[in-house]
């Protein structure tokens, strides 16, 4: 691995992730609208919203502390650092040795903590409610995530995302029941972490059952823009992560040259597109579940991941 392509691919990757994030949210919104028979907003609308929000003068509550000001930066910074670690179009980027799955989970937990702190800063009922629920859901999502990671740690012998992706791309693993179960578990975790249906409805405002939006009610202007960007980047990160683990085809090596990168970019765009369509279809077809059913949903994901690990023990024991 030579240094220059590694640096270049890393920078390109991060820039593309940041650029694609609002676009992806817009595409999902547009697809959902089309599926429901509406015209739908332009997929570029989230970018326009961000531009508008950044230009507005933010309005802070009188008793807002430094937490309200700093938390969005911390959250977006942590999410961007995590996004830089997840391989998108190329393997072997500069930060590939750091791309640890548990570290990604830790960075996302840091972003979540910052979000919950910001929600509690002013002391409102909605913010506290959302923060309490978000942390409670995370308590169920994290073990499911770690057990899904366990399956990959057994298959690849490491939790390094780049190494796992490379190994899976070589097709040495084959189709496995475990992979299927881990996919289901990670999908459930991804839905919960991103506040998508059936866990939370991303399209509502001011509804008693909401979680994620409730925490943002007091932020405005550039703070709100940062939060929106963070949410979009987190969704992009999760979809890229799912693509890297379960559809490892077509990812380029960092030293593959411009043509190889172009093919990798194309593959990445297709994967994200497919996942976005799947997400839109799924969200259109399903209803939101009651808040206290969510632990069952995530608990089932946890148990599926555990089951996957058990089957993997079984087959490694037999081999």
């Amino acid at each position: 691995m030579t240094l220059l392509p590694a640096i270049l691919s890393q920078l390109l990757h991060l820039a593309l992730m940041l650029a694609a994030a609002p676009l992806l949210v817009g595409v999902v919104r547009w697809l959902k609208a089309r599926l429901m028979g509406r015209q739908g907003p332009n997929p570029l609308q989230p970018w326009r919203d961000l531009r508008k929000l950044v230009r507005k003068q933010p309005l802070l509550a009188e008793n807002a502390s430094v937490v309200s000001l700093a938390a969005p930066y911390a959250a977006l910074g942590a999410t961007a650092a995590a996004a830089a670690l997840v391989p998108g179009f190329a393997h072997g980027m500069l930060l590939a040795p750091m791309a640890d799955l548990i570290l990604v989970a830790g960075l996302l937990a840091l972003a979540r903590f910052a979000l919950a702190l910001a929600a509690m800063d002013v002391g409102t009922a909605f913010g506290d409610l959302g923060a309490a629920r978000e942390m409670s859901f995370a308590a169920f999502a994290e073990p499911a995530f770690v057990l899904a990671v366990l399956a990959f740690a057994i298959l690849a012998g490491t939790t390094n995302l780049d190494a796992i992706g490379t190994l899976l791309q070589e097709g040495m693993v084959g189709l496995r029941v475990t992979l299927g179960l881990a996919l289901l578990a990670l999908l459930a975790v991804a839905l919960a972490e991103n506040g998508r249906l059936p866990v939370d409805n991303p399209a509502t405002h001011l509804e008693l059952t909401m979680v994620h939006e409730a925490m943002l009610l007091e932020s405005s202007g550039r703070q709100l823009a940062l939060w929106e960007m963070q949410g979009a980047l987190r969704l992009t990160l999760w979809l890229t992560l799912l693509a890297a683990l379960f559809f490892p085809f077509g990812t380029a090596g960092a030293d593959a040259g411009p043509l190889g990168w172009l093919l990798g970019l194309l593959a990445w765009a297709i994967k994200l597109g497919v996942l976005a369509v799947a997400l839109a279809v799924f969200e259109s077809a399903i209803a939101k579940m009651r808040v206290f059913r969510v632990p069952e949903f995530l608990g089932a994901a946890l148990l599926l991941a555990l089951l996957g690990a058990v089957f993997l023990f079984l087959s490694t024991g037999l081999a």
């Binding site: 750091m98 409102t124 309490a132 629920r133 308590a139 024991g317």
Partner: protein
């Protein structure tokens, strides 16, 4: 540090050889390692100094400053000497000129002792600084036991034989009990009584454990015990006794019930010492007796009880921490959680060692040790911050606090560092320990037995669940205390801490960050301690930049992470500044459109802000039912009645009553039986004592004939 870290593995086997040779007993001036002997002698003098400080505590007033200044100096000495001990290798055994002839008191500083002495010293300095300010006018009954408590912990860590270990452990127990009993109030007395009961129980378990480890030869020195590790059922009994004895002091489930009651009662610096250091000393005893002395050549199941108890502690402690409404009780429950993580690391290390997976065993042991250090620091920080809040805002109940970040910004920010570390957020101390623990758990499938693999997978899930619950608990603690609106007028009068206390808190926050950023360098320094527990020399990849299970596999690079995150943050801030230069305007809080509060509620309607119990509600409903006997009942008034409806909710830990109730019943039954003894004739009394004597003689004859292994 980095240079040392890289060079350490090469120099390490030499120190092992030195230890594995014939045990060198006694103080040999001019021996081969004079500098190490000097370290041990200096430690002995520090212990003596602490003992001499105790009577000074009787002079209240000026004595207080003397006691606490001496405590700070001794703790700082511990830190320096522990680092020297870690860097230089295992020291010689020092024979003290005191003690009974059949069990001479011996001291030695090896890697494991030095690691725990390091954390004891760091905690001791911080607690001493806090006490310097807040305990200046303390009565003698709170001053005299304090240096004895420190000395007891240090003696336990430095002991080189079973008797000294027990002596130190009991001194620690009694001195900490005296500190608790010095508090006034009925609840405090009850807590002290409960604590004493558990301490006596622990002693009753540890003494036979040490006796069994010494075996029939009666050689109480560690070198002698290590030469003859227990086998068969004796080994099982030793493990059970050590877990009961030291586990009850450490707060392992199911013997944790005293901890959330007793720890919060003490003054905050004593709470911090108990939670941050004393529980670690108890874990040190577990590691020393069960893993170092009894650990070699044990079966696969040797570490399983420790792993299981650790897992249960982590879950129950974390869940209780999400529910408690008293800040110090919450912190004590979080201690149970973190003790559980450390015990998991140690237990997993024993399992992996038995399976001949040396590098992984070292990884698990390193995870336990690093988390022990991290937890000692951030828990001390949080307890001291809770003490500052109690001192300044007049309460430690979360329902009476709120909005303190405006009044006490520095305490708030330091406490945020502690809370974020306790919530296992990168790049702070808690995350480094839990990352290593998860790596060890995720690699433990290599052991190969299917039952154990499934068990470890379940433990992995519970560990992740507990870590996330711990994060929720820490968010709740910090958010309810420092964010939002004040919940009582008293909170408005809070002021930031005294400069000395600020320095202590800032220092602890810096240490928490440093441990998080330099786990590799610390583990390279602590390689002798890792080797003691795991029997394998050090964690595979531990250097300034990197820590990880192997050179090719996954690694954690906290410094690189911080650099990347800092670059991203700088770019982000610069970009937003450029795009949006206008300063924020301030306005009334929107609060979902609630109307402005009436004039008689200057901080707004308390009902529009979550209470401590309200914030805990989701997790209480999701997990509290089966684990904490949580209940919720809505009481609706009959139609037409003007009474308000009421929601009653609560929880309790079912384990402590479950432990105590049979004991109460046993006491009653014993009392009835003893009543019957009074009616015996003198002949029957004599017969009883004679029978007992004959029984003891028979036992002696059986033991002498070699009936026992």
């Amino acid at each position: 540090m980095g240079v040392r870290g890289n060079s350490f593995p090469r120099s390490f086997p030499a120190s092992l050889r030195q230890e594995s040779g014939p045990p060198d007993c006694g103080f040999r001036p001019g021996g081969p390692l004079p500098i190490l002997t000097t370290v041990t002698v200096a430690l002995a003098f520090l212990l003596l100094g602490l003992l001499l400080l105790a009577p000074l505590g009787a002079l209240a007033g000026r004595g207080a400053r003397l006691v606490h200044g001496g405590g700070i100096a001794a703790s700082a000495g511990f830190v320096l000497l522990a680092v020297a001990g870690l860097a230089l290798g295992d020291g010689a055994v020092l024979l003290l000129p005191v003690g009974p002839p059949w069990a001479p008191l011996t001291l030695a500083l090896d890697g494991l002792s030095a690691w725990f002495l390091l954390l004891l010293g760091l905690v001791g300095v911080a607690c001493g600084l806090y006490a310097w300010v807040h305990e200046a006018a303390a009565p003698p009954r709170r001053l005299v036991p304090y240096p004895l408590f420190l000395a007891g912990m240090a003696l336990t860590l430095l002991a080189a034989d079973g008797f000294t270990l027990l002596l130190g452990f009991e001194a620690m127990s009694l001195a900490s009990w005296a500190l608790l009993a010095a508090q006034q109030g009925e609840a405090e007395r009850a807590a002290a009584r409960l604590y004493l009961g558990f301490a006596l129980f622990g002693a009753a378990c540890l003494i036979p454990a040490v006796g069994l480890l010494a075996g029939l030869t009666g050689d109480l020195s560690f070198a002698g015990m290590r030469a003859t590790p227990p086998q068969g059922w004796v080994a099982g009994v030793v493990m059970a006794l050590v877990l009961l004895g030291a586990g009850s002091k450490a707060g392992l489930v199911p013997l944790h019930g005293w901890l959330p009651i007793a720890h919060p009662v003490a003054p905050s610096h004593v709470s911090a010492l108990m939670s941050g250091a004393m529980t670690k000393v108890a874990l040190y005893v577990v590691a020393r007796l069960a893993l170092d002395l009894g650990g070699p050549a044990q079966p696969l199941a040797w570490g399983v009880p420790l792993l299981l108890l650790g897992t249960a502690s982590a879950l129950l402690g974390a869940l209780r921490a999400t529910q408690e409404t008293d800040s110090k009780t919450l912190l004590a429950c979080s201690t149970i959680e973190n003790i559980g993580f450390i015990a998991m690391g140690f237990g997993l290390s024993a399992v992996l060692r038995a399976a001949d997976l040396g590098p992984l065993a070292a990884l698990a042991a390193g995870a336990g040790l690093l988390h022990a250090l991290g937890h000692a620091l951030f828990k001390t920080l949080l307890f001291l911050a809770a003490g500052e809040v109690q001192h300044s805002a007049g309460s430690r109940r979360l329902d009476r606090l709120g909005g303190l970040i405006h009044a006490m910004p520095l305490v708030a920010l330091c406490a945020l560092a502690g809370a974020a570390a306790a919530a296992a957020l990168p790049p702070l101390a808690g995350f480094a320990g839990e990352w290593l623990l998860l790596q060890a758990l995720l690699s433990a499938w290599r052991v190969g037995s299917l039952g154990l693999q499934v068990l470890v997978a379940a433990c992995t899930a519970v560990a992740a669940l507990s870590a996330a619950l711990g994060a929720a608990a820490m968010l709740r603690l910090w958010g309810l205390t420092f964010l939002g609106r004040p919940r009582t007028p008293r909170t408005m009068g809070a002021q930031d801490a005294d400069p000395v206390c600020r320095a202590a808190l800032l220092g602890l926050a810096a240490l928490v960050t440093a441990v998080g950023l330099l786990p590799g360098a610390l583990l390279a320094l602590g390689a002798p301690a890792v080797a003691r527990i795991s029997g394998h020399d050090g964690v595979a990849e531990a250097s300034f930049w990197l820590v990880g299970p192997s050179a090719s596999g996954s690694g954690y690079r906290p410094l690189a992470l911080v650099i990347v995150a800092a670059l991203l943050l700088i770019g982000l801030v610069a970009l937003v500044r450029h795009l949006s230069p206008r300063p924020a305007a301030r306005g009334p809080v929107w609060d979902g459109g609630f109307i402005a509060p009436p004039a008689h509620l200057p901080f707004g309607d308390p009902a529009t802000q979550a209470s401590a119990a309200g914030f805990a509600q989701p997790l209480r409903r999701m997990l509290g039912g089966p684990l904490l006997a949580a209940r919720e009942a809505v009481e609706r008034p009959p139609p037409g009645s003007p009474d308000p409806a009421r929601l009653e909710s609560g929880f309790h830990d079912p384990l402590l009553p479950a432990l105590l109730r049979p004991l109460l019943r046993l006491r009653d039954r014993l009392a009835v039986a003893a009543e019957r003894l009074r009616d015996l004739t003198i002949r029957q009394f004599l017969g009883l004592s004679f029978g007992m004597l004959v029984l003891l003689l028979v036992l002696l004859a059986w033991l002498g004939a070699g009936g026992a292994p």
